[in-house]
Symmetry: C2
Subunit: 403 residues, 2 copies
């Protein structure tokens, strides 16, 4: 049985994801699809609009065979570590290949870019330094270094200004660093750009566009055309119960309280909180009545929006620098859900999987898993606050979903 | 100009307080009344139903001439330290006497009790130890020791099972420990017992009774007869703006989030959190949808309700053991409000006051004051959350109220 791996957030699962899934299976000639999916907090430093269990339901309904949780430690990390965590899990669970959507759409330019940077690391780093010295941000400096290098050694490279190309590049880096025979594949992304808004008459939209549509009108109807029926139904059901989707806007009261309640010194304990910014965070929190007005006050050239949101994620969940440093590699495979085919695959490959495959969390004492359970608890508090229902799955007791 | 001091919480200011005020002035033959009033958090370990500024308005309207804030460090402390903080401030501001309401109502039995315990301290402590060994709580053991001692040396003593007698006793202890000529006076409490519910046709009710009436019906009308008009109007105005009164019920969402977000080890950093209870606190918080169901789960013979609430107060505000230990005595006199007579008194006595008299907080860098400002900030967050208005006075900028 051949398995192809994908790395996903499904926030929420939409028609573009369904297409990517099919294509991944096709190009890999695989029997099943295994998705490594972020839990309740995502790479851009924000809570997922619905929790991991609901997104697992969507994924299984959409054709994924096995859903594995990307631990919080990786799901909220900068792209390099995010990719490391995801690819090493896909490799551990025995995928023959992994497929990612990219703007470029063919794999050779990715390999060229990877070799270019690998073979000229010293020069590359020197270009980065040079740019940082001018006061440019880290992402801008990376871009500058890449441009310089690719002009020096001409070949067909990927455009590293495209968000999905960047992520794909990190996947390849991670795969090449592993002692693994997992094979990278890429699929051209169709239609919607990463941040594009909904377009009338189209069945494909970006997740960002979908979330935006939902936050501004809260009219679920407006996104019906771009979502599989199952996704639409799960979102409708969720909104009926909790009256909101997760976002920093809805999480703001608890985030604000947490920011203001602590001393500046305490804030610097959390992952990614650089010393110096803590005073600005507290000061802005004291005078802001919404997340967006708070962000207006703290945004600066020095930090990307994503970076700021990641700090806030760690402050919200209480995830410290000390914890972050204590984790070296994924220490378990947390099963969130599976189809019958997925179950059959696991039955056949179980004995070859080098990490503990966890379906019953309550039986396990594992620090990395404890972070995920804790993150789910504090996520649930914001969702259930003021909601009609208080019945979100308690992570500690929930078994994998069988589909 | 003669000043009599009183120690108050005014939660809220009611007819019984107005009576006490008059009596205090009368028995002390004083020209003005100075009240040391708890800020936003009270001795029984709970938020005051309305903030310190609103309670200051009530106090001034009710006839108090000067309102001084009892710092958080003392206002949330066990009775001994509460009394120490309050009496040393009354002494510092130059009161000739202080008057407290008591069930006993005359001062000699208080002095007898004070002398009895002072002169037989070793025996008293031995009795306490003896009782603690049987598993009795600390308050019960104190009671036992006192009973034994007063049987051995018969005289007219106060009944130390009465809450106002206990507090009065601590005031006297605090006054005697000071190198001060401040003179203790007591006034018999009238009508309502400490925890009594409202009684029809009566103009006097306990603050507890009033709060209970307000929390169960939220019908302000029901307490109109037992409050001065000004108090009633301030409460009505507050409820109109914020839709609630402060209580652990309304503060529960942020308290619950704070309890669950932190690790057990982090919880033990806060004042009065005895090691061992942290796991129980977190476990109970995870399964409780209200403060009362939470308390049902954590209450035990080992801790009084008040003690538990004080722990929770410190967890809510983030007040640590380390902070608590760093404060030895009141380091400033924070002026919350004054009448014209109060102003005249301060003009005359300013130069004799040994502590800085603070009316402009923004100009001061003082650690004890910083705790009060911080406590007010986190208090305001719970009140303003979900409220129509977001205009509670920011402690940092608010000048004393002139009446």
């Amino acid at each position: 049985m051949q398995a192809v791996g994908i790395v996903v957030e499904y926030n929420p699962f939409h028609n573009g994801h369904a297409y990517h899934l099919e294509q991944a299976k096709k190009v890999a000639q695989a029997d099943i699809v295994i998705a490594i999916m972020s839990g309740n907090f995502l790479q851009r430093g924000e809570p997922a609009m619905v929790d991991k269990w609901t997104r697992t339901q969507m994924a299984l309904a959409g054709g994924v065979d096995i859903v594995i949780e990307l631990p919080y430690v990786y799901s909220t990390a900068p792209a390099t570590d995010f990719a490391k965590g995801a690819i090493s899990l896909l490799s551990a669970i025995g995928c023959d290949s992994f497929a990612f959507g990219s703007e470029d759409g063919s794999i050779q330019p990715f390999m060229n870019t990877f070799q270019l940077i690998k073979n000229h690391r010293t020069e590359y780093d020197a270009f980065i330094k040079e740019s940082l010295k001018t006061g440019a941000s880290y992402p801008k400096s990376l871009h500058y270094a890449y441009e310089q290098l690719s002009q020096k050694f001409p070949a067909t490279y990927i455009d590293l200004a495209q968000p999905n190309n960047i992520l794909g590049f990190h996947y390849i880096e991670a795969a090449m660093a592993l002692d693994s025979k997992i094979k990278p594949l890429t699929i051209p992304r169709i239609a919607a750009g990463y941040h594009d808004a909904l377009q009338e008459g189209s069945s494909i939209a970006s997740a960002t566009g979908i979330r935006k549509a939902l936050s501004s009108t809260s009219a679920l109807q407006s996104v019906q055309d771009v979502l599989p029926k199952a996704s639409f139904d799960y979102l409708t059901d969720w909104h009926g119960k909790y009256g909101k989707f997760a976002s920093w806007d809805t999480f703001w009261p608890f985030l604000q309280f947490t920011l203001i309640r602590q001393t500046p010194k305490e804030l610097t304990r959390y992952a990614e909180v650089t010393e110096g910014i803590e005073h600005a965070l507290i000061k802005a929190a004291k005078t802001s009545h919404s997340f967006s007005s708070f962000m207006e006050k703290i945004k600066s050239k020095r930090y990307t929006w994503t970076r700021l949101q990641r700090m806030l994620t760690h402050i919200y969940t209480g995830f410290t620098k000390e914890q972050l440093q204590s984790f070296k590699a994924p220490s378990n495979i947390r099963l969130l859900g599976m189809s019958r085919e997925g179950q059959a695959y696991l039955g056949m490959h179980k004995k070859d999987i080098p990490l503990p495959l966890i379906s019953r969390v309550a039986a396990i004492d594992n620090a990395m898993l404890a972070v995920d359970i804790h993150a789910a608890e504090v996520y649930n508090l914001s969702i259930e606050h003021g909601a009609k229902e208080q019945n979100l799955p308690k992570d500690y007791q929930t078994p994998p979903i069988r589909f």
